[in-house]
Symmetry: C2
Subunit: 699 residues, 2 copies
């Protein structure tokens, strides 16, 4: 449990907590639930009360975005305090506790690179938030919200002085609505979460093999035949775009082409390079269908379609995908081969480059800037396009050197189930990018967390996005030298709970899914197991599947409910690490014993639930492994307590057990295996070593 900040700031009057302190977290820096952490923060003394009469004054007249931002802020403040609509108000700045000013409105259509800086000053008598633009005010209001705490005197914010601005102008989240469809309410609550951690781009992946999700009035067969009825109407899209804009978030649509486009061809088979008919793809992977880049009718279609989309989506950028064309349809089509010969196109990459050049002109004609994945980068495209890298920082650096702006997504793939710490250490300026010139560095716009949707449904998508995305948001906003995982995790655990107030379901649906799995109201035994497992990492889930995965496969197993990162395993691991390295606080051993004992005895309690549920039968071996690890860990503690070294044969046997326990079962990994191995090794007088997690580095 956190000690409250108010006890600790007594006696400090605006002590600087600059970022360098963060590398060695001190007491003060731990106590504020801020994420992303601001560039500069000084704590003061005292606090400003937030009671029912709290009010905000706006000194800037006539900025409707600002007015709306403050209204949304007050709604959010009500969520976080349990206040009601009649509490709080927008009033005369002379009477307000918080006075908000922006020098100028942000642009009507939000643009990349607009100033998002702000200055927030809070004393016990009042607060001011000043920013050059309305966007900066939005960011500062989120910081204010995160500072709200219950204290012995009521809700309050501590006296602080904050100067803040983002490191990168593009801090995005990709949501793939094609492989599975996510209704508008799912998108909106995730926009709330994004705003809370100061992200500013929703990259909306709206078409792929498995579904075309946008209503097109010009080409209605796209959604009528390509979506199974699961698509966004234009009214819904406009509503979501406005919702995002009100929170300082741009929406960049991605309509993936010329590959990843089977769903287009169901209604319009003439667009494709192979003979039809086509049906919506139900499986996962890379498939053959691709647009025919050699026919003028393709470009005529795309001119009409891009024109319609350009009017619907106000953002400057239009993402054309452009990734993973396997070329098989092109190879098999004699007319296309003839076209390539007659146009001097040596290979499929040349053909795609030809397509991209044509498409870029169409996109530009409709007033948009083209964006695409790594593959589109060819020197024959104009320098204003933006490259999104799924290949890595080196690819991003290469693009920057060639004069192209770019975004990093490699290392931020949420579907790979990596721990937040792994994402947190991925930096757009790492590797090859470190040696870029300042001018080249400015071309690195930022990055995007990517929520590819093979294995997510509306029920569990939030749990794949949150809280890990908050760590990526911090990487993209806060200074590069902010790299302390333990501070990050401490705040991440808090932010995870704090995000619940927005209706995000990453925590709420966990219990609901466990109860459904067990068909039981009391799932305490299942929760004990679920709390220490994680889905397998990287792309190994496909490989471990016993039936061929498809979009009709229910996502209702334990692997779908389990969090991508086990908080309990992390805590246990930290306790063990401290214990085996001799940093033993009073109670550490008792804590370890209690956990191990619970695991050892859990299998007997879980068994009746497993026996009655077809969905749980696959987790029986995991439950047995957990029991074995509990026993092994307890024995190791006994050896350590007795100061007798554990016998060699016992050690060998237990380490082999650990080797077996870390193998994926039911597409899950038992995450306490590694720390138990460390206890076993320590009890045998060995230096503990890490147990490699299968596929951990697959990303």
């Amino acid at each position: 449990m956190r000690t409250i900040w108010s006890l600790l700031i007594i006696g400090f009057l605006f002590n600087a907590i600059q970022v360098p302190c963060f590398a060695a977290p001190n007491e003060e820096s731990h106590l504020l639930r801020l994420m992303p952490w601001p560039v500069s923060l000084k704590t003061g003394s005292g606090q400003l009360a937030i009671d029912t009469s709290f009010s905000v004054g706006i000194t800037t007249a006539g900025d409707t975005h600002l007015q709306k931002a403050v209204s949304i802020f007050l709604d959010d403040l009500r969520r976080h305090t349990g206040m009601l609509p009649l509490d709080f108000a927008i009033t005369d700045p002379a009477k307000a506790q918080l006075v908000v000013s922006s020098e100028r409105p942000s642009k009507l259509v939000q643009d990349v690179g607009e100033d998002e800086s702000y200055a927030l000053e809070i004393t016990s008598s009042g607060a001011t938030l000043n920013a050059p633009t309305t966007l900066g005010v939005m960011r500062g209001l989120q910081t204010f919200l995160q500072l709200v705490e219950i204290t012995p005197k009521g809700f309050a914010v501590p006296a602080v002085s904050i100067q803040d601005q983002p490191r990168f102008p593009w801090r995005g989240l990709l949501i793939d609505s094609s492989r599975h469809f996510f209704p508008v309410d799912v998108i909106k609550r995730n926009l709330d979460g994004m705003a809370a951690v100061k992200m500013n781009v929703l990259h909306w992946h709206l078409s792929d093999y498995q579904g075309f999700r946008v209503e097109s009035r010009r080409f209605p067969k796209l959604y009528e035949m390509g979506s199974d009825g699961l698509y966004y109407t234009q009214d819904q899209l406009r509503d979501v775009i406005e919702y995002a804009r009100d929170r300082g978030i741009r929406i960049v649509p991605e309509l993936d082409m010329p590959g990843h486009s089977t769903s287009w061809f169901v209604g319009y088979p003439d667009l494709a390079s192979g003979p039809g008919p086509y049906s919506i793809e139900r499986k996962w992977g890379v498939f053959d269908p691709a647009m025919d880049p050699t026919r003028e009718s393709t470009y005529k279609f795309l001119d009409g379609f891009v024109g319609e989309m350009a009017a619907l989506f106000p953002d400057q950028f239009f993402h054309i995908g452009g990734d993973e064309v396997n070329g098989k349809q092109w190879d098999a089509n004699p007319k296309i081969q003839g076209f390539m010969r007659s146009h001097g196109l040596k290979n499929n990459a040349d053909l795609q480059a030809y397509f991209n050049q044509r498409l870029q002109k169409i996109v530009a004609k409709h007033g948009k800037t083209m964006e695409g994945w790594d593959e589109i980068l060819r020197p024959d495209l104009p320098k204003n396009i933006v490259i999104q890298s799924w290949r890595g920082p080196q690819s991003l650096a290469d693009a920057a050197r060639q004069g192209y702006r770019g975004l990093l997504s490699s290392g931020y793939y949420l579907d790979l189930m990596s721990p937040a710490s792994q994402h947190y250490q991925v930096d757009p300026f790492a590797d090859g990018a470190a040696s870029l010139s300042d001018a080249e560095k400015r071309r690195v716009l930022g990055g995007e967390a990517c929520m590819w949707a093979e294995w997510v449904s509306p029920e569990n998508i939030d749990s794949r996005i949150w809280p890990r995305t908050a760590a990526i948001a911090e990487r993209l906003w806060s200074p590069q030298n902010l790299t302390d995982w333990s501070s990050m995790y401490e705040r991440l655990d808090e932010i995870s709970t704090w995000l619940d107030a927005y209706g995000l379901t990453h925590n709420a649906n966990y219990d609901l899914m466990l109860k459904r799995l067990a068909g039981s109201v009391d799932v305490s035994a299942l929760r004990i197991l679920a709390n220490v497992v994680e889905p397998v990492k990287g792309y190994s889930r496909e490989g471990l599947a016993t039936t061929e995965p498809s979009s009709r496969m229910p996502l209702n197993r334990l692997v779908d409910a389990a969090h991508p990162e086990s908080v309990e395993a992390r805590h246990f691991s930290a306790l063990v690490s401290a214990f085996v390295s001799g940093q033993i606080k009073p109670g550490t051993e008792a804590q370890l014993r209690a956990m191990l004992l619970q695991w050892r005895d859990n299998d007997g309690k879980l068994r009746p639930l497993i026996d009655k549920s077809a969905l749980l039968q696959e987790v029986a071996p995991l439950s047995q492994d957990l029991a074995s690890l509990g026993s092994a860990g307890l024995q190791a503690l006994d050896y350590l307590a007795s100061r007798d070294k554990a016998p060699e044969d016992w050690k060998t046997q237990q380490l082999s057990l650990a080797q077996q326990a870390i193998q994926p079962k039911a597409q899950l990994l038992l995450m306490v295996t590694d720390p138990v191995q460390k206890l076993i090794q320590a009890s045998a007088g060995e230096t503990p070593t890490d147990l490699p997690i299968p596929n951990k580095a697959a990303e």
Copy 2:
């Protein structure tokens, strides 16, 4: 944990489980999570699998309501199984696992008394659902859903044969959107809950002193000035009405008059009997403002207004409120007094009767049937009006004898925080109504659970409505002789979890509110206390308030988070009752000891949370009381185990502690006090007695 039904139905082939069995619950009847319990149920052998290829066939062509009902059913089935949109289908009846037929469509505008009966036959090879009307199909589909279980072979429904029909045609829930406002999503998820337990009327209390919540285009100042901007647009209302209709639920609007009407007068002060100006009422209670029944302009206004509402709300019934006119404005207005004299109206009741006669003609002119609370009942009104009784079954019986149709709400007030068992024993045919003739009994249409909204917000309203309303729904649907509380509670606990799938927040928001109260992620110690307290009963919260309650008062205290009925206290109480009466199963004493020990030791763990939260300071005495009760209970168990009678002075001291512990603190009651007293008494060789719960019988 429940034993699954499938193990138990082996060997039974359509064994009748008629309702009389229920009075003495047997193994079979416990195992089906059905609520309301059907009129006739026979279990068969085997089960029908529900896998991704499950499909429904509809034999009745051209009934769009039926088509939609089946679509909604499939969506609900997906929620309860974790299946996805591409799973399940509506297909050719010849190929379908479930074949649905209705003899005729239900009426376009749903009417009171339409046939809601159905017959559901499930065998291992298929299922049929037959009903005279589409409404009956809807009810039967809900039964099918409640039968869905995870089994060792996957999701399935057991072989059953069910004949079912409701006891009363009017099974309602009143939601008061005036005292606090509830956005459309709150209403919709509660409609889902209502449909799940076969309720068929949402009585929507849309105006009162504290707010006018309907957009009126004819009289826009009603909502512009009377709602603080918190109102339903006509588009929203039409949307909710359709949503309800799709689920077989009628919406009856209540616009309360001539009293309970301050919010009308803010925009239209000339309607009132006293001089203005008026402002929206912020406090709770009965207030003076009332319409002026003596002016023709009042009736002209109401003619226009009722006409507009009659067109907006399709239901046959229009609820005019009519309750609690204190008459003070009438007494104080010389013109009104003169009118009464000149018209021979002897008192205010006569004047209100005059108003009601005039209003009834207006309501009838616009094609509607008038409904109102007890007070409107006067023999001079036509017999087709409906009386809603907040006074009790006797009042309802009196109305029936006079030829009026009526509804019972007395005994079903959810805001009084009574246990489900108390609501469950309230029957519209109790007391005076028992002696009604059959014809008179038919005038008793049913009843309504009432969610008055002084103490509820969008955040906690679900927890006041659910799961207790499911017990009331069963009372109004199932046979009168179904009265076994323990069976009811066993199913209620299951239904509570099952309702989570609809996004109802009665369980999900509990933790969220506790975490906000504590400002902490780890609230285990607070949860231990919260799990055994309940809000004070009846109307005592107002009396115990330290500051005058109002609609601006945040509802963010422990009393607002605590469930109206503590499941844990009920379980502990049942264990103690069994224990002191000598029905000791193995493990009972250990269970009791574990609970008491947890309570005894909890105060030390909760204290740090209390110390840092202004909102928790008021619960410190409760926490101390819980610790004392834990100690006392443990000592009592020790005496019982030792077979030494507890000493007299110890007993006296502990009983006085219990007397003190049962007193309300922080507007909460410590619900384990009574069973701990029983342990103390038993340990001293006394016969255990009940400890009266303050205000328990206030309803």
